[in-house]
């Protein structure tokens, strides 16, 4: 227990460092917000939601693209993420991982239409203060939305579904942190809670016109909301749940690397839905986002393989795909504000950091984040969120800063947004774990873990002859 707290301390320090960097502690932050809000109110904030308020006519081209983008993000989750993760576990736990991703994805989809969309994107009736954190329940059950409702240049239903996929994918990412030992019922309960008190508020803060948006933070397609969020949750859970039986002693190699390749490739392809889709239109910026996404990933593949070859003498496929995901994560918040060369640099650097996190940092702290959700999504997400403040400078081919914003001040804002996400997510995850663990339990019995979750939790086996 003590050990866990000391490990949690590391995360605490990390985020405090980030906040400290901003020269204002978390406590000042809280009191400064209303003031700051006034200061940044006129800023031309680059948030997705901006488009939502415009002239209500549907553009069939934009709509066509957004329908497809939505499907692409679905493919990222199932089968993409499911396979990426599934291939990496031992065969006795294959189905459990597929199941966790599949059911989380389904459950979150329902919660999204029941209250999620409303809480994230509708206006609340509360105080302006509350509005900074979450929306209201006015659009619960998608109340009031019809085929004629328009959001920007696309049908609101399409926007709802596009955002649904983000809300369904993010919790599913966490699965990698506790794979091979989690209790299915406990996981579902945890996911429901996490969706409610972590995903929805952060989503609202970033894209729903809340706190982080008002600060002027840039997160084009979900660096904080999706990747840092999921990465931090996975790390906290990995620490709390503890390592797999035999971790560090028995070999636990991936049971089916080709599955992981398929998953990674579908993540890559689906990421265009994620990033380019976040433009909510098929236009010139979409084109820039597209090329940036592609080459950040490509550069990150080469980055990881290069350092791997230098350090270990061999370039591995798992390294290549891990690099690709790191690059995609890092470019996510940045894809609309950096230029192609900035994208290459960001992807390359992010993969080096992620490599370091998955190899050195993990060993140093000693947690068992089974599939490196923190090492890849968390770390590369942070690199992307902070790095964009540098690479968006025109010198690097970026779009440049808003009037009155300098590289340093943008960096401070970015660091604050990262810090808020880490602290909020870590605390809430910790509390949720404690509750769920005492109610239904979060970990299976040692014997079930030995036998494998496929037969013990789901009564199936992945492969027969």
């Amino acid at each position: 227990m003590n050990k866990i707290f000391s490990k949690l301390g590391v995360i605490g320090l990390l985020s405090l460092f980030l906040l400290g960097f901003t020269q204002t502690g978390i406590s000042n932050e809280v009191f400064d917000i209303t003031k700051e809000t006034v200061l940044v109110a006129e800023q031309d904030v680059l948030v997705v939601e901006a488009a939502v308020e415009e002239v209500p006519t549907i553009n069939s081209g934009d709509t066509a693209w957004m329908i497809v983008a939505t499907i692409l993000v679905i493919v990222m989750a199932i089968p993409g993420l499911a396979l990426f993760y599934g291939g990496l576990v031992r065969s006795k736990n294959m189905l459990s991982v597929l199941m966790q991703v599949f059911v989380t994805f389904s459950l979150m989809s329902l919660l999204w239409v029941i209250y999620g969309y409303s809480v994230a994107f509708s206006d609340g009736t509360g105080t302006p203060w509350g509005q900074m954190i979450a929306g209201g329940f006015g659009a619960a059950f998608l109340n009031g939305i019809t085929p004629d409702s328009v959001s920007g240049t696309i049908p609101e239903f399409v926007f709802v579904t596009f955002q649904l996929t983000f809300a369904a994918l993010t919790p599913a990412l966490i699965v990698g942190g506790f794979a091979e030992r989690i209790k299915f019922s406990g996981m579902l309960l945890f996911m429901t809670g996490w969706f409610t008190i972590v995903y929805l508020p952060i989503c609202h803060m970033v894209w729903g016109g809340g706190l982080i948006a008002e600060m002027g933070a840039i997160d084009f397609a979900g660096g904080t909301v999706v990747h840092i969020n999921a990465g931090v949750a996975a790390l906290v859970l990995a620490l709390l749940i503890g390592p797999r039986l035999g971790f560090g002693k028995e070999p636990m190699p991936p049971h089916n690397m080709p599955m992981t390749l398929i998953g990674a490739a579908l993540l890559w392809a689906g990421w265009f839905g994620f990033n380019v889709g976040s433009e909510l239109a098929a236009d010139g910026v979409a084109g820039a986002v597209m090329i940036n996404t592609q080459i950040a990933a490509a550069a990150a593949v080469l980055g990881w393989l290069l350092i791997e070859t230098l350090q270990k003498g061999k370039a591995s496929l798992l390294g290549g795909v891990s690099g690709a995901i790191s690059g995609l994560v890092a470019i996510t918040p940045a894809c609309a504000v950096v230029g192609p060369m900035g994208a290459i640099i960001l992807g390359f650097v992010a993969s080096i950091f992620a490599y370091w996190a998955c190899t050195s940092l993990k060993k140093a702290i000693g947690y068992d984040d089974s599939l490196d959700v923190f090492g890849i999504h968390g770390v590369a997400g942070i690199v992307g969120a902070l790095g964009l403040a540098i690479l968006m400078a025109p010198t690097f081919g970026g779009v440049g800063f808003d009037e009155g914003v300098s590289m340093a001040s943008q960096f401070v804002i970015q660091a604050k947004s990262v810090g808020i996400t880490i602290v909020w997510c870590a605390i809430a995850t910790f509390v949720l774990y404690k509750i769920v663990n005492s109610v239904v339990g979060m970990r299976v019995s040692d014997e079930s873990e030995r036998t494998g979750l496929d037969t013990t939790s789901h009564g199936e086996t992945a492969y027969h002859s």
Partner: protein
């Protein structure tokens, strides 16, 4: 010489192997097998079709040893493979007339 064949729980393999190597056993041949015994299997259910999977995954290790090492090897295996729970497995000892190392043509105990 004897051929010692032991059926053990898969996750015990590493431990057994190390224990054997400590007492000087240099070669082992391992086979993945299915065991049917007192230990029960599990049930799988596919869209209403219920299958009782009554075997359990085990590994069989085979070691050719000199007569004098036989007892020690048996002891080592039974200690290192022990969990005390049902299904720990069995050790079988068979007579071995002859051994030959293919690479060198050596025979008898030299070939072990």
């Amino acid at each position: 010489m004897k051929l010692i064949s032991a059926v053990i729980k898969p996750f015990k393999l590493d431990e057994v192997r190390e224990a054997l190597s400590e007492i000087g056993v240099q070669g082992i041949t391992v086979t993945e097998v299915k065991g049917f015994g007192r230990q029960k299997g599990h049930t799988e259910l596919y869209r209403g079709a219920e299958y009782v999977i009554d075997f359990l995954p085990k590994v069989k290790i085979e070691i050719a040893v000199s007569d004098k090492l036989t007892k020690k090897v048996i002891e080592t295996i039974s200690k290192s493979a022990l969990t005390g729970k049902i299904g720990d497995g069995k050790i079988f000892v068979m007579p071995l007339d002859e051994v030959q190392r293919i690479r060198t043509g050596e025979t008898g105990e030299d070939a072990l």
